[in-house]
Amino acid sequence: MYGGGGGGGGFNAPSTASGRRRNQEDEEEEEEEAGEGRVLEAWERAYADDRSWEALQEDDSGLLRPIDTKTLVHAQYRRRLLLRSAATAAARIQKGLIRYLYIVIDLSRAASEMDYRPSRMAVVAKHAEAFIREFFDQNPLSHVGIVTIKDGICHRLTEIGGSPESQIKALMGKLECSGDSSLQNALELVHGYLDQVPSYGHKEILILYSALNTCDPGDIMETIEKCKKSKIRCSIIGLAAEIFICKHICEETGGSYTIALDESHFKELLLEHAPPSPAIAEYAAANLIKMGFPQRGAEDLISICSCHKKIKSGAEGYICPRCKVNVCELPTECRTCGLTLVSSPHLARSYHHLFPVQPFDEVSSIYPNKLGQKGGQKCYGCQQSFINPDSQSSLHVRCPKCNQHFCLDCDIYIHESLHNCPGCESQRSSSS
């Protein structure tokens, strides 16, 4: 295949990612149809899948026009970026880099509603998968577990752990819904598990809630109080409508409560939980964590790995520096001695949260359209000209530190993925 290559954990270029998502949707669509035994006609599907009418907008004179998504996307992104940087600018706020997160997925009757296509459950599962991958990419030292609510009972699908693949596999295997949902049961269960995590970890619960009610065995207020005492931060994303009790939980425990309007909004809300949130200092005690930095074993060392109980040569795994047991992948906890095993790139992956790139200033076309003027009319990053076909300088941004100009696409890329300003990095003075 040409586009992106099959492997890799969901990291993809924007252009190919959208194509892939399309494919996934199509696949799910087909599965769904096979289950129902009804096949949509091809022409029906084209409309049902694309919802082409949603990409239209009425202009002043009542004509239908396609929405100019590029500037819209950029404006949205800037709003988020400024919001985020405003939150961190206030003094030196810590970020909870070591997180213990339980994702609670509501699989009650309400999750089978079809207002999201093909169903709330399928949409939640699909985006939860993307979220888990993104979460581990951004927080390599964190841990995730999954809990489901079904028939009023909570069930722990996966133990809290550091490997995205096993979590996703477990989630995809258990997708069926029935019965009522119960917030209290969910909180009680997760509270029990999160009470055991080390004190330096930031304990979080993220509930993806489809139902409009909760069917609890006791007083939920007591449970909320308990969570508050254990310093567990609960956040909820609702798929239906705002509910008082959800709002109350989030307010009490310092989490955020948001309601998704549609699928893309849900995805956006979910992914907002991937970067570490500013930490509340007393929520997690600062501590020194003992960690091991294992090396790959020697080629001729044959041993049994502690994770899969398979015979592996030393070069395939890493050797725990304390107990010399063989583990297959990092980061992990040694099964034998419990030492946290990481490699230095895992730590480096989190550093960008601590040293974020400053938001760039917007520059409207102050230069009149001088075609003769070279140099300044190009994006410093990608060399794209700012002058569009109708010879007008388009909107771009400027780094306040190095004064280099960047195009909007580079702006998003620099802040969302690269976390370096190419201009500042290409100057000696900034680093010395």
Binding site: M1, Y2, G4, F11, N12, A13, P14, S15, T16, Q94, I98, L141, Y200, A279, A284, A285, A286, N287, L288, I289, K290, M291, F293, P294, Q295, P321, R322, C323, G338, L339, T340, S343, S344, P345, L347, A348, R349, S350, Y351, H352, L354, F355, G381, C382, Q383, D409, C410, Y413, I414, S417, L418, N420, P422, E425, S426, Q427, R428, S429, S431, S432
Partner: protein, 288 residues
């Protein structure tokens, strides 16, 4: 532009060239010879497939810049070897002079601090590659080749790692060819993490042969080749207090600073540690 048929063996090669004068002054291979090798390499890439796209970025001590872009060059006519050479060499001369002026005016740079701005060049390369990704669903397969001679600049560590992870996320391999005397720990990690090729040629007078044999093939053909394997990369960390490489240490839960011994207070972020739980577990430490 969109009508171009990109098959899976079309490459976009972004070549990062180290022009650090401190390094080239004492290098085994004169810069002029090195540059001739480079030009031949760029030309052979362009001749391999007429859709191949090559961008050269120079990285000096005080600045980085784009030296050559084959999409600009091909607009003016066919890729003529002599014309390419003349244009690129003029550009690089200008850049080196400019860079020297920057370095001279910026008094803080001492001779010993002679690292090139690898992080800046990698960031530029990745921005350029993102632009190609945006150009449509069919685009040439990008890769980065770093020709580095000067030593690593420790102050660029975070920025270089950020670039490496971004490259990994976009599945852009970073190849490295070391033309200096010592291995580069940054580029070893970069090539290992992004599954690129790391090579330190033994015989620099035959540099072009190495470049042509190892780094000229497109990513699709690479799967059929027996390329030099990256040897084990040392992923152990070094502690912030003594810069010693350690295989077990303490990490601050707030700022992830690494220490080799237990401290009461983090020297980086100033957090105080309560000694409630000095170790994750109460297992006796066998190594001490």
């Amino acid at each position: 532009m969109t009508s171009k048929v990109y098959s899976d063996d079309v490459s976009l090669a972004v070549v990062v060239v180290d022009t650090n004068p401190f390094f080239w002054a004492s290098a085994a291979l004169p810069f002029a010879d090195f540059f001739a090798h480079l030009i031949h390499y760029v030309n052979s890439l362009l001749l391999l497939n007429h859709l191949n796209h090559v961008v050269v970025i120079a990285t000096g001590v005080s600045s980085c810049t784009y030296i050559f872009d084959s999409s600009d060059a091909s607009a003016s006519g066919s890729a003529d070897v002599a014309a390419t050479f003349a244009k690129a060499s003029r550009k690089i001369e200008e850049f080196i002079a400019q860079d020297a002026r920057c370095t001279a005016s910026n008094g803080s740079v001492a001779d010993s601090n002679s690292a090139s701005l690898l992080s800046g060049a990698l960031s530029l390369a990745l921005c350029y590659i993102q632009r190609v990704f945006r150009s449509g669903t069919r685009h040439p397969q990008p890769r980065i080749l770093c020709l580095q001679g000067s030593p690593d600049g420790p102050e660029q560590y975070v920025a270089v790692m950020n670039s490496i992870f971004s490259a990994q996320r976009s599945m852009v391999p970073i190849d490295s060819c070391i033309v200096g005397a010592q291995d580069s720990a940054f580029l070893q990690q970069a090539s290992y993490i992004t599954s690129g090729v790391y090579l330190k040629p033994q015989e620099l007078s035959g540099l072009f042969q190495y470049l042509a044999a190892v780094f000229a093939t497109d990513l699709h053909s690479r799967t059929f080749l027996r390329l030099p394997k990256t040897l084990g990369v040392d992923f152990r960390a070094s502690c912030f207090c003594h810069k010693k490489t350690i295989d077990m240490g303490y990490v601050c839960s707030v700022c992830l600073s690494i220490f080799c011994k237990y401290h009461k207070k983090c020297s980086t972020c100033g957090s105080e540690f309560n000694r409630v739980m000095p170790d994750l577990n109460s297992m006796p430490d066998q190594r001490q």
